[in-house]
């Protein structure tokens, strides 16, 4: 495929894409025209159509490009992949049993139906909302933002993902946030900028619209038609409000406050008084018009999330493609510009419209992507697709984010499970039942471990989410030192997990099996078992220290810190 003329290849691909998609579109529109009540699904009605579209389209593209795609991965691989992506940790041994890799699951599903059911199960888990709130908090404001902003933003996002709020509504809530904490945790997003209006404009455009206008703050964009005026026009939307804080200690709260907006003239005067002469202007040169009862940020949020805004929907689709498949249509994921065309513009456009029509339902998008063949390919490649970084004919090894690694470690040392079982009433300790006291003790320990892990991770990672969007577990020695030597990895901390396994499982084979399930979320291969038999023999037996060392060794593998 690499030998063909690139231009011919691109033309061929475009023709093909247009052909297939227009068929898909025409079909959808025809259905719309028919007036019958029971009209078959149109755009935004059936995520299965999006998935089938992706499968058919890329199937055709592979044929045309002479690529033989990698095989569909086995159940074990799919299970761990989906758990890490959707809930941020590997599956628990009982969750693996429930899915029953290679056979029917507990509901009697198998094959594709079983995998679809798994995605549904994962989307409904409380830790899915938590994990996505982590991911998006880091994406929006980074790990460096102050703790309170992160706390409130994360709280808002967790609630919103838990109820599957439309993405357009979420972004509207954040950009036009009103009120105060703790009632309105959505102010966390704007709070984080500490009233730096240029950053508000820059980050809001980059994260939600994929338009990197910040460099135009100082000079016209070197290779795109974005000027300083464009930047200041966007920034002006944030000039009629401020965030603030009042109160001390536990009573401290944060709020947003807008100056009243009565007419265009007033806005223009106020902005001029601040020494800024640029009138609020939507990116792309539409100027703001006064809307009764709406402040500037509300107008901006309405424009951003409107169905006409292709940047908004395409950015979202691209980010989810990149998140799940390791590669979006546009790379870097949030840098859409004239010199950085999407690899498949028509597909992106199509998916964007479908997503918008679904009511900006991110679960719709996730279901389509995660049940498609694109997501289910093996990482293993063949001669024809080894160099494919475009056609989604194989899966890529993805680094885990610090948050995913943190969750994975907590999960191995048993914190995750303990946490879920604990329910304690909000009463003084003297009034607690014995069970509650016991649970509280565990809970305190859990919180201690949690902050220990978070603390080590912070030192280990530094913080640079804005650029290394997916975190970077790649090269800082401090990270390796932590994974090898942190107290948490010491025999003392792993003792309980290891002893628990030794008590429950009696044969060497069962114990190894359980440790693999716990750490890597998969069964040991024949090869693994052969290696371990030899190793344990060399070590002079399989006592507690041998299983502890096996556990630590597995946690220090590439496999543990990657999704594949």
């Amino acid at each position: 495929m690499m030998k063909r003329s690139p231009i011919l290849a691109i033309l061929a691909v475009l023709a093909l894409v247009c052909g297939i998609l227009s068929q898909y579109t025409v079909e959808a529109q025809d259905h719309k025209k028919s007036d019958t009540e029971a009209a078959p699904p149109a755009l935004g009605q059936d995520w299965g159509k999006m998935r089938d579209g992706l499968n058919d389209l890329f199937g055709q593209l592979h044929k045309d490009a002479g690529i033989k795609p990698s095989k569909i991965c086995d159940d074990d691989t799919f299970l761990r992949r989906a758990y890490l992506d959707l809930v941020g940790r590997p599956p628990l041994p009982e969750e693996i049993e429930d899915f029953n890799p290679g056979k029917k699951d507990s509901q009697g599903n198998k094959g594709q139906a079983k995998r679809e059911a798994l995605i549904d199960t994962l989307l409904a888990k409380p830790d899915h909302a938590e994990h996505f709130a982590d991911w998006w908090t880091v994406t929006m404001i980074g790990r460096d933002a102050d703790g309170n902003s992160r706390k409130y933003l994360r709280q808002y996002l967790q609630g919103a993902f838990a109820e599957n709020k439309p993405w357009s509504q979420m972004v509207y809530d954040l950009v036009a946030a009103e009120g105060r904490t703790p009632e309105n945790p959505e102010v966390g997003y704007l709070m984080s900028f500490q009233n730096r209006k240029p950053d508000m404009a820059g980050i809001t455009s980059k994260v939600f619209l994929g338009k990197q206008i910040q460099c135009a703050q100082c000079h016209d964009h070197p290779y795109e038609d974005v000027t300083t005026d464009d930047f200041e026009g966007m920034e002006a939307f944030f000039r009629m409000f401020n965030t603030g804080a009042r109160g001390d200690g536990a009573n401290r709260y944060w709020f947003t406050k807008d100056l009243p907006t009565h007419n265009k003239h007033e806005v223009s005067n106020r902005i001029r008084m601040q020494g800024k002469y640029m009138f609020p202007t939507y990116l792309g040169r539409e100027t703001w018009e006064f809307e009764e009862g709406k402040n500037l940020r509300q107008s901006l949020a309405t424009w951003m999330t409107s169905p006409d805004n292709a940047w908004f929907r395409n950015m979202t689709v691209n980010r989810y493609m990149a998140y799940f498949l390791g590669m979006g249509f546009v790379t870097p994921v949030d840098d859409f510009n004239a010199m950085n065309e999407p690899s498949f513009p028509v597909v992106l456009e199509m998916m964007g419209k479908d997503f918008a029509a679904s009511g900006y339902d991110t679960n719709y998008l996730i279901r389509a992507i995660c049940t498609s063949e694109l997501y289910q390919r093996e990482v293993d490649t063949n001669r024809t697709n080894r160099d494919d970084y475009k056609y989604y004919s194989r899966s890529y090894v993805k680094r885990l984010t610090p948050e995913q690694i943190q969750r994975s470690i907590m999960h191995v040392v048993g914190v995750q499970r303990l946490n879920e079982q604990t329910f304690i009433r909000d009463v003084p300790e003297s009034k607690m039942t014995d069970d509650e006291k016991k649970a509280k003790k565990i809970n305190d320990q859990v919180n201690g471990w949690k902050s220990h892990i978070a603390g080590s991770m912070r030192t280990a990672y530094g913080a640079d989410p804005q650029f290394y969007e997916f975190g970077d577990f790649d090269g800082s020695i401090i990270q390796a030192l932590m994974m090898m030597n942190a107290d948490l990895m010491g025999p003392a901390n792993l003792k309980n997990t290891v002893r628990d396994i030794l008590e429950r499982k009696k044969t060497s084979g069962d114990r190894i099996h359980e440790i693999f399930m716990t750490v890597l979320g998969r069964r040991p291969s024949k090869m693994d078992l052969a290696i371990l038999t030899g190793t344990f023999a060399k070590w002079g037996g399989d006592d507690e220290s041998a299983y502890t060392d096996l556990m630590v060794a597995l946690m220090n593998t590439t496999e543990f810190i990657t999704n594949h």
């Binding site: 690139p6 950053d199 820059g202 980050i203 980059k206 990197q212 910040q214 460099c215 703050q217 390791g326 590669m327 979006g328 790379t331 870097p332 994921v333 840098d335 990482v379 293993d380 160099d387 890529y396 090894v397 680094r399 030192t459 530094g462 913080a463 640079d464 804005q466 650029f467 969007e469 970077d472 790649d474 090269g475 800082s476 020695i477 401090i478 990270q479 390796a480 932590m482 090898m484 030597n485 107290d487 990895m489 010491g490 025999p491 003392a492 291969s525 090869m527 290696i531 190793t535 220290s545 060392d549 060794a553 597995l554 220090n556 593998t557 590439t558 496999e559 810190i561 990657t562 594949h564």
Partner: protein, 431 residues
């Protein structure tokens, strides 16, 4: 497909890996694995080390190196006259005053950033912060430009302070942060109940277990992972790791530096430089003197003066001062006008930086402030003489150390340069 800067495949992989999280190829240790940059570049400069003494909080120029004795804006401190005209620090700098001939004082550092985090970013990188791009700090640039990736010790060590990532230069140039200099470094020792032998057996098992994964998922991710662990193990077991600690430092030397965390850090900095570490940053915080500035500055200078002077002496004695650039600075200065609590606000308009060592034309003062230190004429125009912006300072560093200032680095897929293209070299600063 005409792009202003076209990406070749390797670049594309690197870009997609940094932005998209794919481990497509070895983007981990780009230096040693891609091979091309593994040899350390020959530079036309005799500076091989940099020590940055960073004063967090914004040290007052009026209580340090630009005092206005007897004036309404001045502090009630005497000043010390030195052999160098204009180099007249406050009385508490009795040791540093003796070293005036080994230093170059810039009184006219000037910027527009009066917010701590933004100004610290500017002074550490030479660029104003940009939320869509992360610039490397001085130490990371030096580590990337002079560092040998196969060296036992990290190429950039930071003694106290927050981790400041190397941004587009890659994590291999991140600072190795020691939060309590001299004390046991976290996670550098084997965990309780684990010795070298046990760690070896764990790591041998890791290697065995990785084989299968490497076969199925590509060697590159595994190789990179291995390289990271090898570097970490090398550091754990290296005889050079004693350079992080003070145990074998002779008493008379320790006495010369004095006591306190900053003094200890300065000794460690020298030990690391001597061992071959290219970049060390030492942080001294507490300079944000909104109240009680006279006492607090006096106290801070008490922690600073002796160790700093001892560092210069020590480096000279060992023949390292000519190859080590030592920089003293903070993020901004402080308002000439005093508050009614003897404090001062933030003032980026003019502040001091002091340079010494390799390549610096010492025994001189650059820039001058006016009688009261406001430096404004009747039309509110700046009268500051020879202003030096942080970007200019970095351009000068780059010139002195022969950095690859014309090389186009990549951040995502946009071109970036180590030093701001618009900046100007301060010619009279260096030899």
């Amino acid at each position: 497909m005409s792009k202003p800067f076209s990406l070749n495949r390797r670049d594309f992989l690197r870009a997609s890996a940094t932005a998209g999280g794919v481990i497509a190829t070895s983007t981990f240790f780009s230096h040693n694995i891609l091979g091309e940059e593994s040899t350390v570049r020959k530079r036309n400069s005799k500076i091989n080390h940099v020590i940055l003494l960073f004063m967090e909080g914004g040290p007052s120029q009026l209580e340090t190196f630009d005092p206005k004795p007897g004036k309404e804006t001045g502090a009630p401190f005497k000043v010390i006259e030195t052999d160098v005209p204009g180099f007249t620090p406050v009385e508490h700098f009795s040791e540093i005053a003796k070293r005036a001939g080994d230093l170059c004082l810039i009184k006219s550092m000037s910027s527009r950033e009066g917010n701590h985090s933004r100004a610290s970013y500017l002074l550490r990188t030479g660029y104003i912060p940009n939320p869509t791009l992360k610039h490397p700090s001085l130490g990371s640039i030096v580590a990337q430009q002079f560092g040998d990736p196969s060296f036992d010790l990290p190429n950039f060590v930071k003694l106290r302070g927050s981790p400041f990532p190397a941004g587009y230069l890659g994590v291999e140039n991140n600072p190795f942060v020691i939060s309590r200099p001299g004390a046991k470094i976290e996670n550098l020792d084997y965990a309780k109940g684990v010795d070298k032998e046990r760690m070896d057996r764990r790591m041998r098992l890791v290697k065995e277990m990785e084989k299968d994964f490497a076969k199925e998922h590509g060697d590159e991710a595994v190789e990179a992972h291995k390289a990271m662990y090898e570097k970490a193990r090398k550091l754990m077991d290296s005889p050079l790791r004693k350079k992080f600690y003070l145990d074998d430092e002779p008493d008379e030397i320790r006495k010369e530096y004095g006591t306190g965390q900053f003094a200890d850090s300065c000794i460690i900095a020298r030990r690391l430089i001597e061992a071959g570490v290219p970049a060390v940053e030492v942080t001294l915080g507490g300079w944000d003197t909104h109240d009680d500035g006279f006492n607090r500055c006096k106290n801070l200078i008490g922690q600073l003066d002796k160790p700093w002077a001892a560092l210069i002496n020590d480096l000279k004695r060992r023949g390292l001062y000519d190859s080590t650039l030592v920089v003293w600075m903070g993020e901004f200065g402080r308002t000439p006008k005093l508050t009614n609590t003897e404090g001062r606000g933030h003032w980026p308009g003019n502040f001091c930086a002091v340079l010494g060592g390799g390549g610096v034309k010492t025994g001189q003062v650059i820039g001058e402030t006016d009688e009261l230190g406001y430096n404004r004429d009747s039309k509110n125009q700046s009268t500051l003489k020879d202003p030096v912006s942080p970007a200019d300072l970095y351009k000068t560093f780059g010139t002195m150390m022969d950095w690859e200032m014309n090389k186009e680095f990549e951040a995502g897929n946009r071109p970036v340069w180590l030093v701001d293209k618009e900046a100007k070299t301060v010619d009279k600063l260096y030899k």
